[in-house]
Symmetry: D2
Subunit: 345 residues, 4 copies
């Protein structure tokens, strides 16, 4: 069985494995204060053109989201997000467990607009007695979204503008940041995105690392005491060096983006084949996740040789299926899947 | 200015005031363990025909909701509720502050159906990896709803049936319970409602008491340690006697229901006048809260002499207005409002 | 049985009852925004000589403590308190339920010192990796303490000084504030105390009101959004007028302090008798709570006619007993208790 | 500089690194449901002689503690622990952030007794109004403790007995479990310890893994829904295989215990040298952590060539210093440290 159901099916990029092996018996202090973490931080600041940014390494996405949000919000505040956002759906209520409501706005292809955000905030303050409802305290968006789609630079600027207007931070979940930035549909680069977000993270887990997310904090007021939140949230890895080493490798020789570009190319090939066979795309995605509407029997046929990810059921005879490529996807496997698709019944 | 904007504009029923004055210098132990609380508990058990029920007195509705829900759910569970439910909208995220997500279902006239609840639960367990999402742990409905509407006995039985099928408790918010049970549209009595809920409360604050909600717990498993939750939630009134005295008065000579019936009669009179003048009802309510769509200029005209509650803005020239009567509403004030309505421009 | 076990055995002062009755059918807006609340706020600001203070009314002490602390601390911070402080012992973990650790310091007669507070804070920051431990975020003390004792003006100034030095707020729990300020042992007046605290409250529940605590916030940064926290914590009384009316009465003609002084006089009489009979005082208290060490048989004898509050058991044959007087304690009851004490076996 | 300040200075055992490299490009499903996790679970069940145990893999210790405790306690309950326990001191209030109080008991050399636990529980229920205080809901101990000391089998049996008597679960933090079980002072084996705990974990992070703790749940009632808690707590590693692979390696050919035994031998050598030089042991530890009282100048001298961990300051001229060995400690480094100690000034 060949697996296309997610982008964390394999271990890690060879460069990372090599550096882990090479440095294995070095002695380092714990908790992210070692030389590899420091070097990785410098490389990330350079890549972001953000010399004053604070960079922290966390183990996973749910943890990164919960930690960042916990560090920003006061108890009476909530976080604005798309109804399809990861924090709204797939984190077992981690944000609520931390005491905060997710103020979910209806999403279009995984995205929300500056207009929606503005309306949400102004509606709150126009209420007769806003204190009876949760105060919007920050905005969370994903780049790319959970449906593989991208905000344009202009859309991000508009969202950034609303956030500044109402003085609430903008947090960008970059679990798949590289897949977004290297997409042909992207019109933004890392330094620009870094300037538009108050805090964001560069996802490693789904992009070639064993695990790890690099949180980049730009706003001075959000930097204070962040390490306390990491520790409290269970995210302070004793052997923090592991995170430093991985991001050191990823940020060297453009590895992070090279891996991402590969995944996008594999996905584009697959997408073309699916469209060519007449399948309908549920969401038009220019990144490494594709969402196509398949007849159930077609899905069953493919599932004889491939593990895919059934996503939802628009009607009784069709399924929205997620096809995922990654940094590790082999071209021959994509070809095998395309062949199977072409022989559709 | 005459006030029709809510059902807590006045103090309390004279009978309560009299009993408070009469018992003022009695000495009692604190925290709800006095003789008045005990008597009120007995009267409530009788009225509910629930001799084994536990009865606890809390100060207000948000507190009662947060306390009951905190006592039932484990950390990974959420509470199913209508998207318009009080806990979903107007409690400043008190449930989330306690660590739990409100699993909001689209409401129709403030109500949700057994079918929706069942679909929500089964969808959760049918997911590939249900542990990535919040587990439905209980159901919360309001009787009457926040829009004044009522569940029929059959609807309640169906919801109760689904809850039992999946072994999750049903909690009924009865902040305005009397207004519901004494409505001409109601086809259920207190003992029947008490049997269908695992836990519910008899609202005092909006029905003639100074404050107070009587939580009635039927399920043995939900009774354990409930007083700890009251105390932790800040709801254990030192002078618990005040709650006992008020419910003792309310449960004597049917006072609670007499007060409620008066409010419904006042509302019915008002509703008839509004309909007769051709105003459209936003939600058909048979209880003490009416929701009518008024042209903005008509609302402004009425607001010269009456305080009303603008609820929402369906379009730029109209406003949904809530008219509220209560146990304390004077017939002459209703008449004055009706006269004003009849002279519409 | 005559009750001396707490200071909330009776209802309320007659002046309050009268004002509640007189205003009962007035129509007011809810949630503390009515004219009585506004008048009470003005009276409190005058009494505190704090024209710019924000004043909010909450129902009870545990609620007030949890709400204030929740409004001040960020998630990684804890509150410094005496190990015997109410929040550390008798609130069923309400502070922890809100997410925060109580950093309990060893108490002497219910009190902690500026030195202890300073050491606690400096020890935190001197750690190698302070982020592994809870950051001290505020200080909580009680005036008078849970053992009836008082901080001197100088002690309060020193604590205030440490708090300002480290820029963390000082919160004074004044559940029995009047009993403290009117004690003959007190060397501070309300306006001075108000200047030394960043936030404190004037307790009503134990001092003549049916219920209610008036939270006074001085620090501008702590004022923001406080009403959200009240609502979220379940403390926003629908009929907020009830709190306004009660504090209006208490703050008129010095009633609050007259009631408190009476309680202290009753306690002083009782204390003298106990000392005269040779009983040892566990804690030297100059306010309305006395803590004496009684032989168990002596306690049993008194308990035939009086309800007292056994507090702890220093050894197998003795019990520390709390005797409590209040605004409502009748001189003849004190005399009866003194007589019983004098006839000790 | 040679580092002896903790047991996570190096990467991981070579066997783990090899297996990670060998399996790197295998495709696996995520979140701990892969074949390596399943195999590791079987090996752990065998080692524990607990065929029915549930085994879950988490990333780190703070996370494991917070997750287990969150899964067990209801909102009004706290966890009994030694005042020196990791959860009481060094997790930045993670337990409180989850809503629960740590009921800290005075520790002796890091340990608490069955008697203390029993007294804590009975004292709670003997209170007049236990609901005003946090209910003891579980017991947490560490084996070995944070001071390297060990509970004897008899002590564990007594604690287990008290827990069963009051029907509260016993949770053993085994972050350094192997160092404890392979100590010459230990009189217990893994299967016996597994039978005495309701839930415990086998620590990997400090014992040769890159990271990872294997939580073993014995009690059926504690097994339910545990994966939800892992996810909610941010502990569900996307590439769960990494945890499976590591524990597969550790549990093969007794590697876990061989690594631990090495550390203990290194520590014993060091301890002997320190005692021989006349240094006083602050806590008598038979495992890999040693706590010795050193004159400050002696510490400074050693710190010229070694990184150690100053722990506390018993007086102005002495420091309690932690010396830590690990699975990775090189004999020549121990010899170098011993030589330095022998040349004490």
């Amino acid at each position: 069985m060949i697996q296309f159901q997610c982008d964390y099916n394999e271990g890690c990029a060879q460069e990372i494995l090599d550096l882990l092996a090479k440095t294995n018996m070095e002695q380092h202090v714990g908790y992210g204060e070692d030389a590899h973490c420091e070097k990785a931080r410098q490389l990330i600041r350079q890549a972001c053109e953000a010399p004053d940014a604070d960079v922290h390494f966390l183990v996973g996405g749910t943890q990164a989201n919960a930690t960042v949000i916990s560090s920003i919000l006061r108890a009476h505040q909530g976080v604005i997000a798309a109804s399809t956002g990861h924090i709204a759906v797939h984190e077992t209520g981690a944000i609520e467990h931390g005491g905060h409501k997710v103020l979910a706005l209806p999403a279009t292809n995984g995205k929300i607009t500056a207009r929606q955000i503005k309306d949400c905030i102004t509606a709150h303050y126009q209420e007769d007695g806003p204190e009876h409802t949760v105060q919007p305290g920050m905005v969370y968006i994903s780049y790319p979204t959970e449906y593989g789609t991208l905000y344009s630079r202009r859309e991000l600027e508009e969202i950034n503008h609303v956030c500044h207007e109402y003085q609430i931070p903008l947090f960008i979940d970059g679990a798949r940041l590289g897949y977004g930035l290297t997409s042909q549909a992207s019109d933004i680069m890392l330094p620009q995105l870094a300037r538009l977000a108050d805090v964001f993270y560069i996802g490693g887990t789904k992009q070639g690392a064993l695990f790890g997310e690099a949180v980049v904090i730009q706003s001075p007021s959000l930097k204070k005491d962040f390490r306390y939140f990491i520790k409290q949230g269970g995210g302070m890895l004793a052997k923090g060096r592991l995170l430093g080493i991985q991001f050191e490798a990823l940020m060297t020789d453009n590895l992070y983006f090279r891996l991402a570009r590969h995944a996008n190319e594999m996905a584009a090939r697959l997408r073309e084949a699916l469209l060519h066979q007449g399948f309908e795309e549920a969401v038009p995605s220019p990144t490494n996740q594709l969402f196509f509407i398949l007849p159930n029997e077609e899905l069953e046929r493919l599932e004889q040789h491939f593990i895919l990810s059934p996503w939802s059921h628009p009607d009784e005879t069709h399924t929205v299926v997620r096809f995922c490529t990654s940094w590790a996807t082999k071209p021959e496997n994509v070809q095998a899947l395309i062949s199977a698709i072409q022989h559709k019944s």
